[in-house]
Symmetry: D3
């Protein structure tokens, strides 16, 4: 990334018009990105998610699968994202005493990074968790959705 | 909402299997939901979003439009959400000293509430803001995505 | 359904051109449809699906969720289907000694029946089962995808 | 494919969580898959599909086109399928005395096989045939949806 | 439509922000819209489309079906369009000496008009015609895509 | 392109059946396509688009973003188009005294050309312009949607 890229938005041109940046000259290389987020909810929901007294069943599976599918949908959702070949996705959901921790890793061998795909995966897994628990907790919150690490590409590895 | 609904997940049945709850007997009424969220970013990005020195151009418009479109895509993204007639969407983006505040309101005249649609609108507007600024700030964070208010339906008005 | 409807395809006009039949004059009524299907596979896969020796984990959940989502996607997949308000979906998967039995029920309060939605739900749940087991059994088969029952609408209840 | 892959589901990890398997290290090679299926229907429908007395028109074309489009939609429908570059699709529909035979071949030059794309193509062509004939035959059945042959990739050619 | 609606864009608010206008208070009534367009091409293509010497096969059917499906996709394509219940679509394609004439009619019983759905149907049928003929005529043009007539809703019938 | 390709439709086989032509043997090369179109509207709309008296706001941005997103959706809309890696998109909208001029350029490094992607981008930007202005001008027309230039691939550069 050059200095000038660091000081302006690459997604708008000099007149301010939105555009999809041309990446056709970038190399196909193996890249990965890991993003995380958290869904804050109530002790009552946490007990249900831990299966205390009732079958938790597919509750976490639905969020995990929604996240994986959303990673594939990223260019449909984020207007200036390039369509990209997603080559691997994992979503880890951990129920803690305060809510549900979400960590997603996306891998590709393509011309751009997959940070947006990892973030989209986390955000939609989080939305799906809220949908799952909303009958019990209307006030659940998605928070701290952010990139933790990326590897590959011209700029190499970056960690928060 | 009955007591038993308050103490279990309506999206899984007694064996734990995911299902889309039957709402065919619910009334078609006017309903609304407002959700909010925040994208935390750097002073350099905030200066760009305020158009200091460079045209901010379509930067906020892209996020606003992505949010509106995502509200319509909610049942595609959140597996157990009902397809619903979205009848109105507004997305307000405000650049503050710490980042971008996002508030979305969704309205419908249909059989279920639109909380998930409002949340999805905010989350995808937030993802799009991060995509817009990521060349300048890789560490931007989406935080505090939550329902602020709902109106209509059997349970009436709820405010955080 | 009139006699003439029984003796021609309603989806093509008199010249043979495909069309989406006008249903704007049909009544909004509660309707349901149940469809079934079967995925034939090997004893090795059945043992895995029953969780013998390894965690079966999300295997059946993925198919169930894919089926529910596909029901919502029916008008995108089947060109002449009407977009319709899906108001409830259940998918039951049962592992038998010969494979996996799939039964889906879709409910709506709208102007057309939901037989195609129930069939699409079963077919895509079946495709997802095959995807899940294909590393162990390449020869799995989806069979007997068919409507079992419909209720509501002008023609009332029909059972196979 | 290793022995251990043959004896477990690659789509769930050791704890049972669904994932999209990482294929970024697999080679881009030319691959194909052929799948088949059958729609069983009544003599009255078969006469209509053969154009006896009425124009059959677009009836088979709709199913053929729906199948081609569905092949492209496979990763949207089957949650753990990789998005893949579909490079060619043919769908053959043959009206027999018992119903409609469907054979689809999908080709790609990419990192994973296209068996799921060929199966999805056949299944959705079958669903569309049922939609086309349902006004005349409510009891039509999709049966025997299965892979017939695959070529390319590490495991080479496989035939049923 | 009021005077003030006639003199500003309803899709942007007073500050210029895009929004989806709230139609939840509009009545559900039967509405229709007819749009037309034309694809200009060469005599060589016209001869092929008329089946002179070679089977024209599915050429026009593909465009007709693509148009019908696109009508359903309108709210996915046009960001501020409401998702709407499409209740009927017909697409007429006529091969003339100068090209292909396209006329589409969309019907609904819903809260907003279907002019955009009819226009989208025509535009995508036109794009598909160009795709079909492009190996023979790279210079084909889509022209005169416009609303011809609408009926229903508060403003009643309008004809060009 | 061979002589025989020039004299028949490549998208239908010898029996007339629609197919997606196999391009797996074509080379991955950098390709581009530029398409243009025009939306004819009234002086009142043109004054609004130029921001005379009222904020034009996001009006042109919505069309630009819709066009970019539609370029990515081309294989979903045009049934026989290959899914393709879109690597760059620009959309220029210019308000003239007669209406809005649209020019779009799409770039890729893939196995087929992107003419259809550029045309789809223009057509959907045009549809979105019509949606934006329709409250003021119901009679707006999309016209002259056509390829201006293509580069790359086996047949090299072509200009209208």
């Amino acid at each position: 990334m050059t200095d000038s890229e660091r000081t302006r938005f690459t997604h708008v041109d000099q007149r301010g018009a939105a555009r999809m940046v041309d990446v056709s000259a970038k190399a196909v290389t193996v890249r990965s990105a890991t993003a995380s987020g958290f869904v804050t909810t109530t002790p009552a929901v946490i007990a249900l998610l831990r299966g205390e007294g009732v079958p938790k069943g597919d509750a976490l599976a639905v969020a995990r699968i929604a996240g994986i599918q959303a990673a594939k949908r990223t260019p449909d959702l984020v207007p200036l994202c390039h369509p990209i070949a997603i080559h691997g996705v994992t979503v880890d959901l951990e129920v803690t005493d305060l809510g549900v921790s979400i960590v997603a890793t996306v891998r590709t061998a393509d011309r751009t990074g997959v940070e947006m795909e990892a973030l989209t995966c986390v955000a939609v897994a989080g939305l799906t968790m809220i949908d799952m628990v909303k009958a019990v907790d209307r006030a659940a919150v998605i928070t701290d959705v952010r990139v933790e690490e990326k590897t590959g590409g011209r700029s190499g590895t970056w960690r928060r």
